[in-house]
């Protein structure tokens, strides 16, 4: 997907690397990540805890603070967000690019009414007067499906249920009609029927507002139900990328294959799941070669010595595995 490069449309990430200086040594949280998000596209970033998926999102948004350090390029509208002065970045955050978080209770300010927090964003990024702001706030509450908007604007976050809180946070994020929404596990803390509502709301909003969305999640089912393209992360690196249909039909990285096999599915009751042995590595002592090799059933000597590069296979497909042909040829997992 080359949309966006140089045209000022969409997001182009090149060589994004985030290091954390920890007492145990340098932790490579995100390593050399390339990612393109076209206009109106919904891209999923999937991985387990410590895979670097959330840090990637925060690095794009410029939310990494010391002891963290970000290098690489994040191009948005022809400008590089990483090199941008703080003041300019602040103007883009919340207006052109917005972000929603996993736990709205901590992302919202508990002592301010929701309406006030919504208008705060409008004050910061628009020239609307008080009456216009109120009207816009009501409109946003309706867009995200919060009933009795007039009354609820004056209520505090703790008076909202988990689902409603997440809707309120989305409303705040949408206040200035962003062109890119970064969603960090927005439904992980929610019940499944509420998760379903929120995901479908995000899909609707994407269509209505022509936004691009980057959705970070650990749940492959969420990706399958919503995204156009996906990237799988492991130990800070993207190991596989492609359209959701392609990746699910034929995973080419053993980790993707293992993840897909780990999720129980219909019609295979009480069978053994094809789990991945072991646990993800710590970021301060990654294994040599391919970071996945100690857990990989396809691993050979080369995997222990050399790190496989992320190579392109056709227009929209990338994989970082020496044995992707063998993985692709292996018995279907779904």
């Amino acid at each position: 997907m080359s949309a966006g490069i140089g045209t000022g449309l969409g997001l182009t990430v090149r060589g994004l690397t985030t290091l954390f200086d920890t007492p145990r040594g340098m932790a490579l949280a995100v390593a050399d990540v390339d990612l393109d998000v076209g206009p109106g596209e919904m891209v999923g970033l999937v991985g387990e805890s410590g895979s670097g998926k959330s840090v990637t999102l925060r690095s794009i948004m410029g939310l990494i603070q010391t002891p963290g350090h970000v290098t690489g390029k994040v191009e948005w509208g022809g400008r590089d967000l990483v090199a941008m002065p703080a003041e300019e970045l602040r103007r883009i955050r919340g207006s052109e690019i917005a972000m929603i978080f996993q736990e709205p209770m901590t992302a919202l300010n508990p002592v301010l009414p929701v309406g006030l927090q919504l208008e705060e964003n409008l004050v910061a990024h628009t020239r609307l007067n008080a009456r216009e702001r109120r009207a816009r706030a009501l409109e946003l509450m309706n867009i995200v499906g919060i009933p009795a908007a007039e009354r609820r604007l004056n209520e505090y976050p703790h008076q909202f249920s988990g689902g409603m809180r997440q809707r309120a946070m989305i409303a705040i994020a949408l206040a200035c009609s962003p062109k890119l929404l970064l969603a960090d596990e927005p439904t992980t803390a929610l019940d499944v029927t509420i998760q379903d509502q929120i995901l479908k709301l995000l899909l609707d909003l994407r269509d209505r507002l022509a936004m691009s969305v980057v959705l970070v999640t650990h749940d492959l089912g969420v990706i399958a139900g919503t995204c156009d393209r996906m990237a799988v992360m492991y130990a800070g690196r993207i190991v596989e990328m492609g359209t959701v249909i392609d990746v699910f039909r034929q995973p080419r990285h053993p980790y993707t294959r293992g993840l897909l096999g780990s999720v129980p599915r219909a019609g295979a009751v009480r069978t053994m799941l094809s789990s991945i042995e072991g646990t993800p590595p710590g970021l301060t002592d990654l294994p040599a070669g391919c970071a996945f090799h100690p857990r990989c059933s396809f691993a050979t000597d080369i995997c222990r010595q050399e790190r496989p590069p992320l190579q392109s296979l056709g227009a929209d497909r990338k994989v970082a595995c020496f044995h992707h042909d063998r993985v692709a040829a292996a018995e279907a997992i779904l």
């Binding site: 387990e48 805890s49 249920s161 689902g163 409603m164 019940d191 499944v192 029927t193 509420i194 998760q195 379903d196 509502q197 995901l199 479908k200 899909l203 609707d204 650990h218 749940d219 492959l220 089912g221 969420v222 990706i223 399958a224 139900g225 919503t226 959701v244 249909i245 699910f248 293992g258 993840l259 897909l260 096999g261 780990s262 999720v263 129980p264 599915r265 219909a266 295979a268 009751v269 009480r270 069978t271 053994m272 799941l273 094809s274 789990s275 991945i276 042995e277 646990t279 993800p280 779904l334």
Partner: protein
């Protein structure tokens, strides 16, 4: 599966009081209470896995705690091999807990952080005199093998393990007393997907080897479906549907079960729906509507649902649902028979 149930739950209710505010007292209103369980009845048969699934606030964790007597129900009775467990006193009660064990959700909180793995297992083995003293070290090694932990794990503290390994320690502790029944409350929900699968596989294998009866409580429908012989779907403290796993998931007979099934994210990007599975949100558990608890969200709701609470009635052999729409989700042929 024998005919006599190993555990029978009979009309169990449990309320939690909410602090009685001065305003309510002055207004003469009754104290508020959360009805965590509301007349719940079911049976568990020896050797089976019963899955209990539901969203937060449905009472599944309260039920799990009642089953191992961490909580005492306010009404109804739970019987283990025919004996009401609320009548068991000290030593009897400890003997009951030896046979009915629980594994907890939180891999970080459920182990004493100051005890090594071998101390944890040694305590369980020696308190219940499972083995003579000199055989305990060998038994600890056996238990570690059973849950696939390395032998050198014995001398380590919980903080030295990952979440999945801690859950294995919790399982080993429960198995140390050689129980008949294990209640697993959200056993894997705190774990990464790949590690979840390891623990689920372990549980399936252990159940085969040790002929355990398993009560698997979880919010993840995909996991419950995968591991259970029978499933109970709970909502707001009540069982909405209970039946064999294939039956409930292939043709749910309650609109809530269907909504839950539709909302669960499946691994098939080719079948996408933009229709919301269930609108609205859980009503406040302080203020449960008089009719069907799901009425406010049900797409098939009609007048009767709002006034009369449907009872759990039979739909098929060993399959019951609590819905006024008796034919909901029935196979076309059955529907034809009914008409």
């Amino acid at each position: 599966m024998s005919a006599v149930p190993i555990i029978s739950v009979d009309g169990v209710s449990k309320q939690f009081g909410v602090s009685y505010s001065l305003m309510r007292r002055l207004a003469g209103e009754p104290p508020l209470a959360v009805h965590a369980l509301n007349n719940v009845s079911f049976e568990v048969h020896r050797g089976e896995t019963l899955g209990i699934v539901g969203e937060s606030g449905c009472g599944k964790s309260t039920l799990a705690r009642c089953l191992v007597r961490l909580l005492d129900p306010d009404g109804g009775a739970i019987r283990f091999e025919g004996r009401d467990i609320s009548t068991l006193r000290s030593a009897e009660r400890r003997a009951f807990n030896k046979r009915v064990q629980m594994i907890f959700q939180d891999p970080y909180g459920s182990l004493n952080p100051r005890m090594t793995v071998s101390q944890v297992l040694n305590e369980a083995l020696s308190v219940h005199r499972m083995r003579p003293k000199r055989d305990i070290p060998a038994r600890i090694i056996e238990l570690l093998d059973l849950v696939r932990l390395p032998h050198d794990a014995a001398s380590r503290h919980p903080h030295e393990f990952s979440g999945g390994q801690r859950q294995r320690i919790g399982i080993a502790r429960a198995l140390a007393v050689e129980p008949d029944v294990i209640v697993a409350d959200e056993l894997v929900s705190a774990l990464d997907v790949s590690v979840q699968a390891q623990v689920i596989n372990l549980l399936l294998r252990l159940q085969e080897e040790l002929h355990l009866t398993l009560i698997f409580v979880a919010h993840d429908l995909r996991l419950v479906r995968h591991i259970s012989h029978r499933v109970a779907v709970m909502y707001l403290g009540q069982i909405m549907e209970i039946g064999p796993s294939e039956g409930v998931f292939a043709s749910p007979r309650h609109p809530y079960s269907k909504a839950l099934l539709d909302a669960a994210p499946e691994l098939d990007p080719t079948h996408r729906s933009r229709v919301v599975a269930a609108r609205g949100e859980l009503p406040s558990p302080l203020n449960v509507p008089p009719g069907c608890p799901f009425a406010s969200r049900c797409p098939h709701v009609f007048d009767r649902c709002r006034v009369e609470r449907p009872a759990l009635t039979k739909r098929a052999p060993a399959h019951s649902a609590a819905c006024h729409l008796v034919d909901f989700g029935a196979m076309p042929s059955a529907l034809a028979d009914a008409v």
